[in-house]
């Protein structure tokens, strides 16, 4: 089989090479030490929100960077995960005592506003936390499995896949907004208060959730790294570069694509659930076409081939978005547009590529012993 340059890094058999290990430690220091020390609880919660998008970006590195599948509907999975948890929290917040001013006490307030008098059957299982945690991951993954099977088995890929996933994002948004009696409509599911009696709105709870979120993110990063280091990861890259040859070598290309698409969906769903917990609501504005494609740009800015880069990219773009759009909202929109164009034309490998090309050679020069140049990832 032909040697692919992108595979070369994994051949030493180690889980992380030295640069990757250093990058992971640096990121862990930033997330677990630097940010919590430097920021007040409000800002820390904001960064916690950004980190929930990083789950999606890491999933996209696997799907798009490694597998060559660009999904423009990751917001669907982010939203499904977030909505699943929001439904549980909403039911907990809608006790008969808390909602006794409604004409039907005990159901979520938006249902009451829409003249619904009984909890719909598909809401019932979300009284249980264990079912909800299962559903947070299972529903999006099954959904991704259905889409993936239908598309990849028929060898639909490339831009067609992107358009279809985008259409799915549009459909789900219209559906959620249209069925406001069951979904909370355009406002989403709001006013979430407690998780099993634990008030999630206090500063302490938000800080605790920030650390839980960071821990989950690192678990996903480790899983993503494991996938990339495994034979599966190599096949994905081989498939991206020469799909036909992989198919002719006897691999079932579609199964690999479906798997990585489901994995990306699972990551996005965990991110969505953590988003609901930390921000305290879930709405269709995180499901549709615009948020989905923005998540792609987080990944592209960080570097579509770099798992850690995706996290950095997400943090950087969101931080810039918040700081710029507070003071110059008009300028930000231009900046975002220019970012899309620049990341494609000028630095297609994102921050990770810039780092590899320009910063690592500097380190190499500092070292007494010249080390071999790192192959591009």
């Amino acid at each position: 089989m032909t040697e692919f340059p992108a595979m070369a890094t994994g051949r030493d058999g180690r889980f992380l090479n030295r640069t990757e290990a250093m990058g992971a430690v640096a990121l862990a220091l930033l997330i677990f030490v630097l940010l919590p020390l430097a920021l007040d609880p409000f800002r820390l919660n904001l960064f916690g929100k950004y980190l929930t998008y990083a789950f999606v970006a890491v999933g996209l590195v696997l799907c798009w960077g490694a597998g060559g599948i660009l999904s423009l509907g990751q917001g669907v999975f982010f939203g499904l995960g977030g909505y699943a948890l929001a439904m549980f929290l909403k039911l907990e917040a809608s006790t008969p005592e808390a909602t006794k001013i409604q004409s039907t006490p005990g159901i979520p307030d938006f249902m009451d506003w829409n003249q619904i008098t009984a909890l719909p059957g598909w809401w019932q299982p979300f009284h249980s936390l264990s079912f909800t945690i299962f559903a947070v991951v299972a529903v999006p993954v099954i959904f991704a499995f259905i889409i993936g099977t239908a598309m990849f088995r028929r060898r639909v890929g490339g831009v067609y896949f992107s358009i279809i996933t985008q259409a799915v994002a549009a459909i789900l948004t219209i559906l959620i907004i249209g069925q406001q009696g069951y979904t909370g409509g355009v406002n989403g599911i709001t006013d979430l208060r407690t998780l099993k009696g634990w008030d999630i709105r206090t500063d302490e709870a938000k800080t605790a959730l920030y650390f839980v979120n960071g821990g989950l993110l690192f678990a996903c990063l480790a899983l993503a790294q494991f996938v990339r280091r495994s034979k599966l990861g190599r096949i994905l890259i081989a498939m991206r570069d020469r799909e036909d040859r992989v198919r002719f070598s006897g691999y079932d290309v579609a199964s690999f694509k479906i798997f990585v698409f489901c994995l990306g969906a699972g990551f996005a769903a965990i991110g969505g659930a953590m988003f609901t917990l930390q921000v305290g609501f879930m709405s269709p504005s995180f499901v549709g076409i615009v948020p989905s494609i923005e998540m792609v740009i987080f990944c592209a800015v960080g570097g579509r081939n770099s798992i850690l880069g995706a996290v950095w990219g997400t943090l950087l773009v969101n931080w810039a978005k918040t700081s710029f759009s507070e003071s110059f909202p008009e300028l930000w929109q231009f900046g975002m547009g220019a970012l899309f164009i620049a990341v494609v034309l000028v630095f297609p490998d994102g921050l990770a590529g810039v780092w590899k090309q320009h910063v690592e050679p500097l380190f190499a020069r500092l070292k007494p012993r010249p080390s071999a140049p790192q192959p591009a990832e």
């Binding site: 598309m151 060898r155 639909v156 279809i164 459909i171 069925q179 547009g337």
Partner: protein, 308 residues
Amino acid sequence: MFADYSWGELVSIFAMQGFAGLILFSVFVLMALGLAIIFGQMGVINMAHGEFMILGAYVTYLVSRLFETYLPALFGIYFFLAMALAFVVAGALGMVVEWALIRRLYKRPLDTLLATWGLSLILQQLFRTVFGAREVGVTIPQWMMGSLPLTDTIEVPINGLFVMALAMGISAAIYVLMFRSRWGLQVRAVVANRVMADAVGINTERTDRLTFGIGCGVAGVAGAAFTMIGSTGPTSGQLYIVDTFLVVVFGGAGSLIGTIASAFSISQAQSILEFFLSGSMAKVLTLLAVVGILMVRPQGLFALKLRK
């Protein structure tokens, strides 16, 4: 769901909704034709297509204001000038974009998608800065207002008829351009085999630029027509972009007839369902059906057989 209506009422409902569907169909056709040229023929995903359409709409708005202020006597015919201008402005911008952006990305279709999305964000903000965030509407000339009563219960609006006529006219013009002109021949040659087309002396770069420009120009005309039936805001283009891509993909990329057929079926399904269900459910069901059919038949309704 039909039980509550008498037979005569049902016929009227279907006729009126069918006609509303025909107007939607005309808008889809106008938008999708430009995209069918760019995506179908060149394989380029232009996510900023909706913004080119809105550019045409704003050009029409400007021209109508100019006529209102300086040439009120000729106001009845301003639309034709506006349409021509919309074609030229959108087409020129399209050619600039092709030169600056698209031609560097022909080998990376997914990246084109992202870059043109960035372009659409920039254009949207530009519209917002220049024209304001509020939607603007144009004054429709006197002769286009009102409606034609066909029977007691069925009547058709004239501006709708006009948009339909326009859609048919432009479809015919594009057909002639694609299949009866030298340029069309060159475009089809480049699509079929770029290297060979280059070898026999076709300037493929110029053909690409012209094709992209004409596609964007047609979008501009679509925008001009759009002002006759709705108002224009900076983000109106984004509302239609997914529908339009689905129309083109559903019809089978590369097939103009397929594009028209799929625009027809999607718009009719949507507007007839709209009467019986809520607008959002009608749209959800239509889009779901389209996505479902595409999963079973990914090549679309009319597949063009090409050697890859």
